[in-house]
């Protein structure tokens, strides 16, 4: 019974969060003059998609095509469990919380690949190859960037990582780690400017080219939810999680998460969509060496700051 309530709460929380992210995106897109439209549009778009036909293209792999959005959404819901909203306010707190989070991200990309592969069309196939290439290239920098806070906190538990930032947020002495983390987070959520696997013009929607109606909505919800969770995990790893004065802990966590999300979304406005090979070069030639450098720096600083005892 307890598990059921937890899972329902997590799903409800995710949906509210996704709505808030969608509103945030609209606000950034439309500017301050159309606040009303920004709040109304996400709901209207969701209703429109629910109303629409759920197309199954001829020759599509029935099982993969139909299941891909559900796999994506369930993976996202599972990762949400380890995010601590406040002290002891967490769905599931294993001692390896962060590891669990990172491992569950890969099935999400696999779900995207299934979506592209199963639709029996060339654009989807091209998009699948791109998604597969990104899967390999985001994981290494992502893992290495997340190792920084783990080294400092000497724990993989997300709660423990937050608690060990009581004195000083890790962003202060691991800014490079945060930067690499944010890049990798944009990679894994296929967000602009790394969205060429579902790009508008060149692949006509890429992995989503053949999806319509409710299933497309599920995918969009999963993508926004994952982005929200990654920003939340960024706050846990680098911005001291729920900690802050005066306000209740969960409120601090939510505020920080949306501030980080707004900052990232705003910054990506100024970048054109990158080419797949540029994305791979960025990952392997810049982010990977930088993340190794970051680990070295963090190791030295951890010894200097704490003397090896967190």
């Amino acid at each position: 019974m307890n598990t059921l309530i937890t899972s329902l709460l997590v799903l409800a929380g995710l949906l509210v969060g996704v709505y808030a992210i969608a509103v945030l995106q609209q606000l950034l897109l439309l500017g301050p003059r159309q606040v009303g439209a920004a709040f109304q549009l996400p709901i209207a778009q969701a209703l429109l998609l629910l109303h629409q036909e759920d197309v199954l293209p001829a020759g599509a792999d029935f099982f993969l095509f139909r299941s891909a959005p559900f796999i994506a959404l369930s993976v996202v819901a599972l990762t949400a469990l380890v995010l601590p909203l406040g002290p002891r306010l967490i769905g599931f707190d294993p001692s390896i919380g962060l590891f669990y989070f990172i491992v569950l991200l890969s099935p999400f990309v696999v779900a995207m690949m299934n979506a592209g592969w199963s639709q029996n069309a060339k654009v989807g196939l091209f998009a699948t190859f791109r998604a597969a290439a990104y899967l390999i290239s985001y994981e290494v920098p992502f893992g290495f960037a997340a190792i920084g806070p783990v080294m400092a906190a000497q724990s993989l538990s997300t709660e423990r990582i937050v608690q060990s930032q009581a004195g000083l947020w890790y962003v202060v002495w691991q800014p490079l780690g945060l930067l690499i983390y944010l890049f990798a987070a944009l990679f894994v959520t296929f967000r602009h400017p790394f969205d060429s696997a579902m790009a508008g013009s060149e692949l006509e929607g890429g992995v989503f080219a053949e999806y319509s109606g409710p299933r497309l909505l599920l995918f969009k919800v999963a993508l926004d939810a994952l982005f929200l969770l990654l920003m939340g995990m960024g706050v846990v790893l680098f911005f001291g999680g729920w900690q802050g004065p005066f306000l209740p802990a969960p409120l601090w966590f939510v505020l920080k998460t949306f501030a980080l999300a707004a900052l990232v979304l705003w910054a990506t406005r100024f970048v054109p969509r990158l080419r797949p090979d540029q994305i791979l070069s960025l990952s392997w030639k810049i982010l990977l060496p930088a993340s190794l450098l970051n680990i070295t720096l963090v190791g030295i600083l951890t010894l200097l700051l704490t003397g090896g005892n967190p």
Binding site: A44, E53, F126, S196, A209, R273, R275, Q278
Partner: protein, 496 residues
């Protein structure tokens, strides 16, 4: 078009309460004249959102005229739409399309009897129609079309250590890269384009042939349709050719007014192109700036003329300068300086350079051989000849055009008005006008009768089409799109 048209599901019934203002994801189908309209429409309202696959759209917006060759693609798109879907036609209805008689265009009403139609061609009017779409009848499944089979030549290549299979990726005929329909077959080895095959003619209406079947005066209307995105330039070319035959030279005030009208048109074309290019790169900040400039200039130019240039550019027609409203030269200068600022911002933008520098480089010699003119040639002569150079050249040209046009309008010499003279003596004449995409030329022959005996157009975009395969070969797939878009092809003009 998506690669997979057929579907095995049945449409779903609506079971949700309609909101007061429903969002409309629409798929834009441009027969060749709608590029600027669609560019403006995409930025008008957050509720009307352009999507790039018909599966995500619930409205198909068709800009007429649509040529016969495009019809199978149109039917395929309509079949691909997720239901419920509706169709909106933009253009004058059948009965009022007198000037199109003799042209090779399709009657879309017969294909979509339930389609809604707007005759007004302003983005605002189309937007209003788009947002009220739920009142129209839903689209029924149109009949299956039989597209012509197209033979694609796969290049031979040497045996490689790792055997890879070539893929033919068909792009278009409806794609956002060119203004109007063009089909590209990219033969890809993974992400690399090995070679490309171009299939044009989807916007062919047979303007030159139709002009020979009608009298001189009606041919003027047809001349405007040669390039629906730059009607003034092609109209002026036709008028100048007639005036050469009549041995008549326009006095300076008239020539200035004409030149100013063409210059404004060039600047507007460059700006709408910039907007479409920024949208293709998904660069939101550049898109916003481009739209802001393009719509400001369009608004300003529209309020500038008391009578639109299409009405007073006729052979020997003299107009009183009072057709120009009081121009606020300061506003135009401001637009020009904003364009300069944008140009230097674009030149400094390192992130934009990631996608535009060193790709699609064209050598000046090759361009001259092919007869290319306009911004593409200038970019190779003055700059590196890559995509970035073409972008910068267009921005600079737009700024210069706005400046020179406003200066030309400031001189207020008076001329006597007199009506057009349509008596065309025997002879042959050739006239050229600098249009937004290069030199638009016309060659006409007259036997002194009612009709032109021979009409031949020199179409700047058509010169670029044969260059496409060689410029695309060896490029990356993602770059290929940017390169095609950077050429700024207008298919209606290229196909004639």
């Amino acid at each position: 078009m998506t690669g997979n048209v057929e579907k095995v599901t049945t449409p779903r019934r609506g079971w949700f309460v309609q909101l007061t203002q429903q969002p409309r994801p629409y798929f834009a189908l441009d027969g060749g004249s709608g590029a600027h309209l669609f560019a403006a429409l995409s930025q008008q309202s957050p509720h009307a959102r352009q999507v790039y696959t018909p599966r995500h759209a619930d409205l198909l917006v068709i800009a007429e005229p649509v040529s016969q060759k495009l019809v199978p693609a149109l039917q395929e798109t309509a079949r691909t739409l997720a239901r419920p879907a509706r169709v909106l036609l933009i253009g004058a209805p059948e009965g009022r399309r007198d000037h199109f008689s003799g042209l090779d265009i399709a009657a879309i009403e017969n294909l979509f009897p339930d389609a809604h139609r707007v005759a007004a061609i302003t983005a605002q009017a189309v937007l209003e129609a788009v947002l009220n779409a739920e009142q129209w009848p839903k689209l029924l499944l149109p009949q299956q079309a039989e597209p012509e089979p197209i033979l694609i030549q796969i290049p031979h290549r040497q045996e490689q250590e790792i055997a890879t299979e070539l893929v033919v990726l068909s792009l278009g005929p409806l794609q956002p890269l060119t203004a109007g329909p063009l089909r590209l077959f990219l033969i890809c080895d993974g992400e690399q384009v090995l070679s490309a095959q171009v299939e044009a003619g989807y916007a062919h209406r047979g303007i030159a042939a139709a002009m020979q079947q009608t009298d001189w005066q009606h041919a003027l209307v047809l001349a405007r349709h040669l390039d629906p995105l730059a009607p003034v330039a092609s109209q002026l070319a036709y008028v100048q050719a007639i005036e050469y035959l009549q041995h008549w030279q326009p006095p300076e005030p008239v020539a200035n007014l004409r030149e100013a009208a063409v210059a404004f048109e060039r600047a507007q074309n460059h700006l709408w192109w910039l907007l479409r290019f920024a949208q293709l790169l998904a660069d939101t900040s550049l898109t916003d700036r481009a739209y802001d400039l393009a719509s400001t200039l369009a608004e300003h130019v529209a309020s500038l003329w008391r009578q639109s240039p299409s009405q007073w550019i006729s052979p020997q027609q003299m107009i009183a300068t009072s057709i120009v409203n009081d121009i606020s030269a300061s506003t135009l200068r401001q637009i020009a300086s904003r364009l300069d600022a944008l140009k230097s911002a674009v030149a400094r933008n390192r992130l934009l350079a990631l996608r535009t520098r060193d790709i699609g480089t064209l050598a000046t010699v090759r361009l001259k051989e092919a007869g290319v003119s306009g911004p593409v040639l200038q970019a190779s002569e003055q700059g590196a000849g890559d995509v970035q150079a073409r972008l910068l050249v267009r921005l600079e040209a737009a700024s210069l055009d706005v400046q020179s046009a406003s200066e030309m309008l400031e001189s207020k010499e008076r001329t006597m008005a007199h009506a057009a003279n349509w008596n065309v003596p025997t002879g042959e004449a050739h006239a050229t006008v600098e249009g937004p995409r290069g030199t638009i030329g016309i060659h006409i022959a007259s036997s002194g009768g009612e009709k032109p005996v021979n009409v031949q157009w020199q179409r700047p975009s058509a010169m670029l089409l044969p260059l496409l395969p060689e410029i695309l070969g060896g490029q990356l797939l993602a770059d290929a799109e940017v390169i095609v878009a950077s050429l700024g092809l207008a298919m209606a003009e290229a196909d004639g």
